[in-house]
């Protein structure tokens, strides 16, 4: 590969390679600095910040190029990477959230054993997820997916001296691995049936075999295989453990973008098989409903804040699945747009919820060297000592509950509109059920908000430490985004609409 070819690479590739190249640099510099000085000056956190900030540069260029000429693509050998609306959506969410998480971790993770590894993985996983969003070859997609899993195992089981953390890591690993084998089986079936792995070519080949049972089986395997990572009920059982045991920044990443990356991987894999049956959409709707029921009911009984938030993620995946189901089954583009809007708003809200809960966990337990979970009872009176964290936490929770004028309401609304647009009586019933679930979810969000504003503080609050200043930055930014996009939802149209268009194109034509 000569220099000319290197400079001619499409700019979006740097969005993928740059973090991946930075990752070993972050690790090595972090290690060396620590060896040399034997103090607690962890350089890795600053290098990671530079790394993630530098990725915004190719992002801006990519954005411009996409606006100017639509989807970008790059082919090496027989494998194509294509950046379309869907990839751009994921890239936006991933980059934004990982930047904030790096800033957040600056104090949260400071002084932990293996800090440089943490940052190396965090930087790597953001590149990997962008790559996942761009993969246009079925096997390559799986490989990115596997890479995402492998980079996240360490992050989940980061507290290696905590049995609970290891337990969560093992469940996550085994269940992901089972899912990944199912996906491989599906890929083998598709390859055997169509003779190709390129998504566009598969679609062309599958179009002629609308009654192929082999392709049906492949689609089923994809749904279940990727479904493990998306936490579709009943493959969700690992999620509450992993999300509650991981460091809070990672919980935010897992809930905010990793689940969503899995969802986009599923859509990519399922799209070329769209012609074989219309049942895909129905399956997504069925799973969406079961996700909402299970997620909400289980969240209702939780006493640990992070575990509760994890269950609420399961419920929120349900909304996205229903929107996508509407889009796929009824051909209703509004469903896809609503779903992608909800994906973005869930990234913001759940990101904020985990980060602010994490901030409280940090000041009440972690900073004191304890590993107790944050209980709802611990929240009592937090507003008196931590007014800012209490406010943003409440904003996140009320947004998740779907109260206007926060962004969660707007995105849910769009999904509901799509449901009514189908003018199908069954769908209207389902939408009413969705709305009912939204109301039910208030039964566990509202008590937390109440607890935060109690006048009599809990012991944990009384003995808590002050919130580090760096931690406030991502909290304030996310809260502002939730409010601003809530008041002005068309702000995100630039990301959401191309994604919707891309999905409809992938499934429709």
């Amino acid at each position: 590969m000569d220099m000319n070819a290197l400079t001619n690479l499409p700019v979006f590739l740097w969005l993928i390679w740059l973090p991946l190249l930075w990752s070993p640099v972050v690790y090595l510099i972090g290690r060396l600095a620590r060896r040399r000085m034997a103090t607690d000056t962890a350089v890795a956190r600053w290098v990671a910040l530079i790394a993630i900030l530098s990725t915004w540069l190719p992002f801006a260029w990519t954005w411009q190029a996409f606006k100017a000429s639509g989807p970008l693509s790059y082919t090496l050998g027989t494998i194509t990477l294509r950046l379309d609306g869907l990839s751009l959506l994921l890239a936006t969410a991933v980059l934004a959230l990982s930047t904030l998480v790096v800033i957040y971790s600056n104090t949260y993770m400071h002084g932990e054993l293996g800090e440089s590894k943490y940052y190396a993985m965090l930087v790597a996983i953001s590149g990997v997820m962008v790559g996942l969003g761009c993969a246009a070859d079925l096997f390559n997609l799986w490989l990115w997916f596997e890479a995402m899993a492998i980079t996240s195992y360490l992050l989940v089981a980061f507290y290696r001296d905590q049995a609970a953390s290891l337990e969560a890591g093992i469940k996550y690993l085994v269940q992901s691995a089972v899912g990944s084998v199912f996906v491989l089986m599906g890929i083998a079936l598709v390859l055997a049936q169509t003779g190709t792995l390129d998504i566009v070519q598969i679609q062309a080949a599958a179009a002629g075999q609308s009654d192929s049972w082999v392709l049906l089986a492949a689609g089923g395997l994809f749904i279940v295989g990727f479904g493990v990572k998306i936490a579709i009920v009943p493959m969700h059982t690992w999620l509450p453990d992993a999300h509650s045991q991981a460091p809070s920044g990672i919980s935010a990443m897992l809930s905010g973008v990793v689940i969503e990356a899995g969802l986009i991987a599923l859509l990519r894999a399922l799209a070329p098989l769209a012609g074989t049956t219309t049942t895909w959409g129905i399956l997504l709707i069925i799973f969406g409903v079961s996700n909402m029921v299970v997620g909400n009911l289980l969240a209702l009984r939780q006493q640990q804040v992070k575990r509760l938030l994890a269950f609420s993620s399961i419920a929120h995946v349900g909304y996205m699945l229903i929107g996508l189901g509407i889009a796929i089954y009824f051909g209703e583009a509004a469903g896809a747009e609503g779903s992608f809007f909800h994906l973005l708003s869930h990234t913001m809200m759940k990101g904020l919820a985990f980060l602010s809960a994490g901030a409280l966990l940090y000041v009440m337990h972690t900073a004191r060297g304890e590993h107790d979970p944050l209980l709802i009872a611990d929240l009592a009176g937090a507003s008196q000592k931590y007014p800012l964290v209490a406010l943003v936490f409440s904003i996140a929770l009320l947004g998740l509950g779907g109260l206007p004028p926060l962004v969660g309401f707007m995105s849910k609304w769009q999904i509901l509109v799509a449901g009514f647009e189908t003018r199908s009586l069954m769908m209207v019933g389902i939408i009413a059920f969705v709305a009912l679930n939204s109301v039910l979810s208030l039964a566990y969000y509202a008590p937390m908000v109440n607890a935060v504003y109690r006048k009599r503080p809990s012991t944990a609050v009384l003995s808590g430490q002050p919130v580090p200043a760096m931690m406030n930055i991502p909290l304030v930014l996310l809260a502002a985004a939730i409010l601003i996009v809530g008041f002005w939802p068309s702000l995100v149209n630039g990301v959401v609409q191309p994604a919707g268009t891309a999905l409809m194109a992938a499934f429709g034509g």
Partner: protein, 193 residues
Amino acid sequence: MYLNLVLMIAAALCALQALRTKQLLASALWLACTSGIVAGWLYALGAHEVAVIELSVGAGLVTVLFVFGITIAGEDALGLRPLVPWALAGSLALALIGLVGWFILPVAEASTAVTEPTFSTTLWDQRGLDMLVQIGLIFAGVLGILGILAEKETAEEQAIANYKARQTTLIIPQTQAYPLELPSDTPIKESHV
């Protein structure tokens, strides 16, 4: 054809044995056996290169790692009553493969032969991107193992111990400044006035 049948039965039996045996070391060796048979099977299919890799990695490297792990960790929890009842586990597994089999069997005849580039061209040129991603994968894997398993990293440990010590000294005056016990429950005002 009969070779395939034999290999298939042998592989499945070895695999089953690996999961049923009551000795961890034996279990790892049965896995190596399975791997060896699978390698032979791959060879018989005409996949000569991958057969070699399977033999060296699957039967060789992985077994060594298993044995290594087993010697560190020791035997434990073997042959206990399973958490999912045997009957349920067996019938669900059978139902699953039965269903998948119903969907995909019989497998159709091979399509017309395509002239295909050599293995190395396919691997390094056509699937070059996969190779690139794999580098990242290996890096992440190594880091992951280090992160989970690394023995005490003396310099780092020391630094952290220092850091934690200083943090604790920061905490102590604070915990004393705030009363840890809640003030005795003063009744809330009867009505909210």
